[in-house]
Every structure is written in structure tokens, then in C-alpha cells.
Assembly symmetry: D2
Homo-oligomer: 305 residues x 4
């Protein structure tokens, strides 16, 4: 059983992760993790030509000569601002000492854990809530999950993704998305990543990507932000990986938990998703074909039945 914990505050000295239950002999380097960490840091209106310092997860245990040893893998990710004394963290979030002359943050922001955290822990300063609930935590999650990704890859399972909607700019329907991804998927889901990464809005469709960029610019001028929707594609999965026998073993439930527990996610769909709720049976199933092996012409159930 693969397990992992993350720890660390957004502006603290470091993020820490422990990944556990990893078999020995799996290829894993800091560069493998960096590739995905860099992908996380990029994005239109964030990176671009603007210089940024790359996150890097340092392996502290569990790996020898670029291969896992079976032992737990400890990862640390140094906060570069903190290291360069550009942070006031050592004063306002000091692990020891007493709080003196510290300007408290007391105004909870909507859309964040601020208010809930204040009420739960009865803090008089929101900082500890902001620091831990921050999306920066996902940097360590990316590093930890790269281990899982390497494991899956060793079994021929690939994961890819691309953006399908930003604000009002999005594909017309599932067919349009299928058209643009199907050729790539045939070569493995990572091809979807490789191609979408060439776009700074991660969109596979050139014109649509342009619209997304325009919408971001408009909203930025207004001082607002924008939501979006992405699609995750997995290829190479053997049939029978999940289980239908007990509620807490079902793969669709576990995937939904993983996605929804990510900061700022408000919805998860599998296959047609909510559109299944708006149509009738013949349109939501994937006909099963047999010509030596089982095949299907459509993927309306998201491959998870």
C-alpha cells in the first residue's frame, strides 16, 4: 500500500514529504521530480519570460544510485525566499520564543480555509491557517506523486492532462475534445502532457488557447482571477484494477477523493459526468465489441466501469 504525508508551511523553511510503501528497484531521481515541479510553476501570466526560481525536491532517503531501495523516501523542498533572508517568517512564525509586536492577520479571505481554521483552532492570528492551507502544499504533493507516477510508468501506465476550459473559453463538447486527443492517446497519455505543455495555458487547441489568454488578460486588468477545467487521461491500465466489492475500495471514489482534496477543486466528473444526468441510457453506455479481445468504440463512462 502506497502512503504519503506532506508537511510544511507556505513560507516556512521547507516543505517535507515522506512516501512509503514503494517497492525497491524503481527508477527515481530529483530530476524526475523537477520536471513535474517546473510544470506546476509555469502558466500564462505567472511565468512566461519572467524569471522564477525552480522548486527542487531533495531526496534524503530511500534512493540509492537512482533506484528506490524499498525504504521510505524522505523529500525536502527548501523555500528559497526563506533561505535568502527575504522572508519575515523567522519573526512572525518563529517556532520558539514569544510573539512580540507581531502584526496579526485577522481578516479571513473568502474562498480560503481562513475563517474555518480560525474557528476550529481559536487562533487570534490567521497566519498558521494561511500557511498550511496554501496551494504551495501541492508542490510537495507533486513531488510525492512523481514516485507513484514512476511506479505506474514502470507498468506501462501513463498519465496526461490538458486544459479544456478557462473562464468562458472552452471546447464545444466532448466530441471536439476527443477529436483533438485521440491521436495522442494512442501513443500513451504522456503525449498529451508533452503537447499541452507547449502551450502556456496548456490547451491543445491553438485558437482556443488564444481565447483563453485573452480572457485572462481582461480579468487581470479588472483585478480578478479565473477558474478553469482540465481533463486527466490515463492509458495502459489493466482491467480489474479497482474493485466493485466494497464501497471504500471503488476506484472511482478514490480518484474523486484525490482530485477533490486538491486546493480549489470544486468538481469531479468521470466520462460524460454530469452530462450523463441530462441524457438517456443509450447515450451514456459504451457498447462492448468482441473480435478476439474486448473493445469499445466510445468512452462515455470514463473507462471506469
Amino acid at each position: 500500500m502506497f502512503r504519503y504525508f506532506t508537511a510544511g508551511e507556505s513560507h516556512g523553511p521547507e516543505l517535507t514529504g515522506i512516501v512509503e510503501g514503494v517497492p525497491a528497484g524503481l527508477q527515481l531521481t530529483e530530476d524526475d521530480m523537477e520536471r513535474h515541479l517546473v510544470r506546476r510553476q509555469q502558466g500564462y501570466g505567472r511565468g512566461g519570460r519572467m524569471a522564477f526560481e525552480k522548486d527542487r525536491a531533495i531526496i534524503k532517503s530511500g534512493v540509492r544510485f537512482s533506484k528506490t531501495t524499498g525504504a521510505p523516501i524522505a523529500l525536502t523542498m527548501i523555500n528559497l525566499a526563506y533561505e535568502k533572508d527575504k522572508s519575515n517568517w523567522p519573526v512572525v512564525m518563529a517556532k520558539e520564543g514569544t510573539p512580540e509586536n507581531i502584526e496579526r492577520i485577522t481578516l479571513p479571505r473568502p474562498g480560503h480555509a481562513d475563517l474555518t481554521g480560525l474557528q476550529k483552532y481559536r487562533f487570534d492570528d490567521i497566519r498558521p491557517v494561511i500557511e498550511r492551507s496554501s496551494a504551495r502544499e501541492t508542490a510537495m504533493r507533486v513531488a510525492c506523486c512523481t514516485v507513484a507516477r514512476q511506479f505506474l510508468k514502470s507498468l506501462g501506465i501513463e498519465i496526461g492532462g490538458h486544459v479544456i476550459q478557462i473562464g468562458s473559453a472552452g471546447y464545444e463538447g466532448w466530441e471536439e475534445i476527443r477529436d483533438i486527443t485521440s491521436a495522442l492517446i494512442g501513443k500513451g497519455a504522456e503525449q498529451v502532457f508533452k503537447k499541452s505543455d507547449k502551450s502556456d495555458v496548456r490547451c491543445l487547441h491553438k485558437d482556443l488557447g488564444k481565447k483563453m489568454r485573452e480572457e485572462i488578460l481582461v480579468r487581470r486588468k479588472e483585478g480578478s482571477s479565473l477558474g478553469g477545467i482540465y481533463e486527466i487521461i490515463v492509458t495502459g491500465l489493466p482491467a480489474g484494477l479497482g474493485s466493485y466489492v466494497q464501497w471504500d475500495r471503488k476506484l472511482d471514489g478514490l480518484l474523486a477523493q484525490a482530485i477533490m482534496s486538491t486546493q480549489a477543486m470544486k468538481g469531479v466528473e468521470i466520462g460524460l459526468g454530469f452530462d450523463s444526468g441530462k441524457t438517456h441510457g443509450h447515450n451514456v453506455h459504451d457498447e462492448i465489441m468482441y473480435d478476439g479481445s474486448f473493445k469499445r468504440r466510445t468512452n462515455r463512462a470514463g473507462g471506469l466501469e
Copy 2:
């Protein structure tokens, strides 16, 4: 920690459940469970005036004088058809003996676990897959979760729900739904159940309910089925119930797992859900107000931040 397992096949002698980690002193009777089991069995085009035999969960342990004792609660739900010898189960699914002259089911149905189960377990007869992956399993889940519901109710937490879309018939937008539920929610989420239960399509809106019924009739004539979307509302929750500190403790992830692991569910949204991905920041947050206590005028984040 509240835990439960269900067991049992769709046409087998009984469904079995064990609910564990329940405090002592909680009110619980078989009638409490039956109320929700009956609700599960009803529905337009299924029950109506047509007679059906009610499912009833029998308490075998863990309850004394209508109160839980702290011990595990064992529940069994007898399969009435099996009891009355109307089932061929004792022959085709016999727990002992050898399979003789049994007509195998070998054609996997799309939209079900049939094919996956066949491939996973290398069966030559799909029956064991059909029997366990059947939606009848949710009958025992309803019984088990009534225990959780009673616990929550003892803390002033109520759960309600209603149908917002069947096929092409649905509300125009979130505002329309809020208008119809807000008065009920003020008195506790169970009021939503009580009112929606009066409709055989569980719709709070009379005219919309009529359209849903019409669409069901049309599709039935075509021999097809229809998807739908429902909304779940919880009231009385204290702030800080979930946690932002570790990925697998986050309440939104756990709720998404619970919903998505239910048979036939293909999507979960919290608050605005996917609509958050189609608009900008000012439209997705819920402004925090303070006039002695914290309040919000909107509920776009689904109350889960």
C-alpha cells in the same frame, strides 16, 4: 472512527452490514432505518400504486431498548423473493455443491462492472459480478448510513436532498434552485427531504416535476433509461469539522469519495462546481460578513472552505 462494511449478493439469501465505532446511547430502531429504505425503493415508474414489499433491516446486535450500546451493530436484510422460493439462486449460486446444468451468463452489459469483473477474476459466468456490483447493495448502505444519520441528528446536523435534473428537464440555474430551497433549509435540511418526498420524482418544483415525469414516460416507451442530478444539503454543521492539514483528511475529498463510490454516479460538484471553472473569482467566492458572528450572503463554495 465510524466504519462500516456491507456484504451480500443482489438475489442471495440476505444482505449483511456491520457498523462499527458508534457511541453508546444513540437512538436507533429498525423503523428509523425503514423510513429511509422505503424512500430508496420509491420513485416514479417504479413504485407508484404498484405494490412492492418493503425492505427491512433487522438489528442483530449493538442495540438495547432502542439505544446503541457501543458494540458493533449487525444488520441483516432478508431477500423476500429468496425466502419465498421464487428465486433460482439456491441452484445457480449455491454456496456448496458443483455447478451442473447451469446456464451461464456470458454477455457483459455495458455500463456495469460485468466485463471488468470477468477479466479480473477470470470467471466463466458473470453471475457473481452482477450479483455483487448490483445497485441493490445500496439498500444495506442506506441502512448502515442511517446509523451515521442518527448520530449527526443528535448533534443537530441534518441531511436533505432533492432532484434537480432528469434527462433534459432541469432548473435554469443555481439561483432558481436556491429560491426554492432557501426557506426549507432555514428549518433544517430534513425539511427538504420531507417536501421532495411528496413528489414521486423528488422534485420540489411542481411544473418541473411534471416535465420530468413526461420525459421518463417518453424514454420508457423507447425502452431506454434516463440519467439525473440531485443536490444534497447539510445543515447544522459546526465550522472546522474537516481539516486542511493533510490531503486525506480533507472533508471535500471524503465526501466526493462517498458520492462517487455509489453505483452509477459519474460526477460530484461542491457549491458552484464546474461552473466555478467557467467564471471569474468575484463570482465564485462568498463574501464574509461580521455582525457579532460571521455570516455569508451566498453559498457558492458549497459551505466547504
Copy 3:
């Protein structure tokens, strides 16, 4: 991951168990379970020629034609006294109704969970504590664990056991025990069971068994009970089954938990156990030999390093 829950009160209508995470295709019948349930019921001074009614676990799901299907296995064990109306349970432990004219049990017995249960749940009647903490719960544990035993057996792993001490009657030392078990172990640990089961005190040594019986008789006349010590032997285990990488994966810890959580157990030893604490290094290790494959001449570490 193999998981199981038990439920049920000592004198209630039935004990219930759900065993989960069992692969499909494993041989399992009610007779397989009964063999071990009968073994649990026997014992000098308990059964003998005296008639007793056999416990039998009834399979309610998860098994077809004597083979597991991968689905959860539900087991029920009917309380025969309850069935025959010889029990006053329906009155004093009724699941519904109100307690009227019920003679409460209020005197907690030492050596039981009585007092702790009373204080934890603030009951005014100890019955619910007595009923659940009773050693009768182990009957369902035996049935559930027979499933695990069948699984292990299919991999060539056998479990056996025998009694090494009752009261003051016991073996002189580990060497004496080894002498008597080593020949049996060579043919698989179940041989140890088969031979020890021929003795009503489960002792492999004829004269020692006689002393144990005598001591039981003496103590019974005094109205007292007697403690004992047994040895569990497992054969056929592949190397590397447990793990040294994380504290909660270590096999010795998990075995100790399983044993110590059984009613009335107060100690667990592996290999030399506490005797290791009374001697020096050369006496506690098992020299590793190599003549094509690895071998050891001694088993002081209990085979668990």
C-alpha cells in the same frame, strides 16, 4: 488487504462477521470453519463425553460452489440457546421497548471489561459490557480467520499450535519443546494441531498432559480456574513477508497485536522471548549457514528477523 469485523453479543440471537478483501477462487465451506469451531469448543473439563451443541458459521454471501467469489463473505452463527427460547435475552436485552422490571447486573467482576465498560459508557446495568466483551466473540473470530487460514494454506503456509503450560505443569525448557515438535514441523505445522488435538488438554507430551489434567481437577475442586501458555507454529512462510521499513508494517508487531487482542491474553513472546533478556548475544542468535541455500540450525529469534 484482508479485513474483518465481528459483531454480536454472547447470548444474542447471532454472532455476525464480514470478511473482506478475499481473492476469488479460494476453497471455503462451512465444514472448513466448523472443524476449527469444534476445536475451540473442546477442552478438558469442558467437553469430554458431555454432549454439547456445535457452533456452525453459516455463509450468507461471497461463496459459490465452495469457492470464494471475491465479494465480501458474510457469516452468521446462530445462538442455539436463544433459538430454543432457553434464553431470557429477548426480555433483558430486547432491541426495542423499554426496560421494565429488569434485574440489573451491577457488580463488576475482576478480570473482565465490566468496570471499565461501566465507567466508559455510564451504563446502570453491566449486561451490554458482559455480552460484548465475552470470550464467545472469539467463536466468530475463529470463523473469520479460517478464511485467512484457507488463503495461507493455498500458498503452502500452515499454522499449528499446542499447549506448553497449564498452571504449574509445563515443559522444562525450549529444548524439550523443540524435541517434541521438530519431527511434526517438518511435515507442516498442521501436523502439530492434528497430534495435539488428540489430547484433551492439547499437550503433545503424554505424561505432562496427565499432570495438566490433575492440576485442573485440583483447582476445580477449589472452585478456581487456571492459566496456561500455548505455542503457535507457522511453516511454509516465504522470506520477506513482513517489512522492516516502517514501524506499523513490521510483522512481529502485527502478530503481537493479533494475539494480545484476544480475550484473556496477557503476554506474547517470539522465539526465546523474555529468555532473550536473561542471556547474552551468542545464545539468542541463529547462525546463518549456506550450502546452496540459506539455512539455520536453531530458531531462537522465532523465525522473525
Copy 4:
């Protein structure tokens, strides 16, 4: 639920730990952890007046102004030898690069995980097994569990311990141990620690401690090591902390797991332990007295019934 993982190799750059599920507001400093880390490092024949460099766990997250924040607590413990380039680890256990001219360790030691690890992971060098299965891992366990200790202390629960046997030198029986501990226990179990810490063999009994030291000296001259037995005492526990309702919730099982999973432990007893198996009922129970509140004159069941 309190959870923790440790990671790190014996001679690697650092040990890492993440402690999770800790409430906010708990007093915790690096000095609190150091007190117990120093205790772990001491011992007759190991420290004495000989200088040694103290282990120190550095808090990287989850603590602000000496109080926990509810967020996960990340701990790192730097390997001092590694830091000072006195280690050949960077060459023989390098996380990247290829193994060149590295002298392999191929002779598995008895009494360690060496052989099992080799066979499980099919390594051609035992180093990764030695490094992770080493008792040095317990240093991080001590640091992590200090967090639990601080939590328990805030509830008035104290844990103490002392050595009762080294080699052939040990107390005569339980009565002798009770005599020497009972006065200390009355003031809280930490008093037992405080007093036993004054002895370099952690023995509360002066003459017995002398015998232990003598035995250690004799065995050291022979080039051998010695086993031992210690007693752990907990005070301030409320009744009803564990549970009798399900096998995997029982406190005695969980405690046995925690102890037995520690490196080199081969036995666990509660109360009279194995001596219960050698005597009769009247000698193993603790009579329950009542004079306003419940009391017991003896503690033969180890306080865990």
C-alpha cells in the same frame, strides 16, 4: 487520529519524521524532544563520561512560538558524522550516479533483517537493508513519540520506565518490583524515569544495578552482548480509553504492536504476563473495592481490563 511516519538511513544525511493529527495549542520544543533523545543515547558502557554528540530533532513545520498549530510536524535529525565528511556514505550509498568500485557487504548477520531483506528485494549488497533496519531509526521514533507524550502529559497522563533485568541479574519477583516503584508511581510515572535515569543501567535498585554493571563487563570481555527486560508504567489514564468492542481497537493489542515493532524486542507482557499462565484464577485477578469510588489493591492485570 495521531499518525506518524519515519524515514532515513542509519548513516544517511538525515532522519526525517512527520507527525500528523496533533491538535493545536500543545506545548512542544526541540528541547522537549532532546531530553528523551539524550536518554536514548546514554547507557552503561556506551556513554558514561565518554563524550558523544547529542542527537537533536529540528522542527521544520507545525510549531509556532513553542506551540503546535494543528498542521503536520516535520522533524529532521542531521547525521553529524555525515555532515563532517567522516562518512563514506556519499560514495557507497549515493542517491544518484552508478555504483563503481564499491565494496559490497554480502555476509548477512544473524539477529538482523539482513538475510530477509536480501531475499525480499534481491539486492547484491546488504547495505540498504542494514541502513534502514538499524536501531538508529528509533531515534526519530523517540522524537515523534515525544509529541504524543506531550499530548498525554497535557491530559495528566505520564509514562515512565525502568530496567528490571539484564542478563542473569534481575528482581526476584513482581512483589519486589512493586515495592520499589509504588511510592514513585503515586507521584506520577515520570518520577520513575527521573529516578531510574540517575542509574547508568536505569535500575531503581542500587545493589541490583551493580550486579547488572558487573555482568555487562564480563560479557564485554568475552566480546558478547546482553539482553534485558524493562517495565513501562503509565499513570493518570482514565478508565475506558481503549475498547472491548472490536479486535483491532483493543488497547492491549495496540500496545503490544507498538512494543514488539521496536528493534530487538522479542516479548511483551501486561501485568503478570506469562506468570498468569502458571498460576490459578484467584492469583491473577485484581479484586474490585468500592468506598465511594472504585479501587483495587493489586495490579495483576496491568491495569488493562
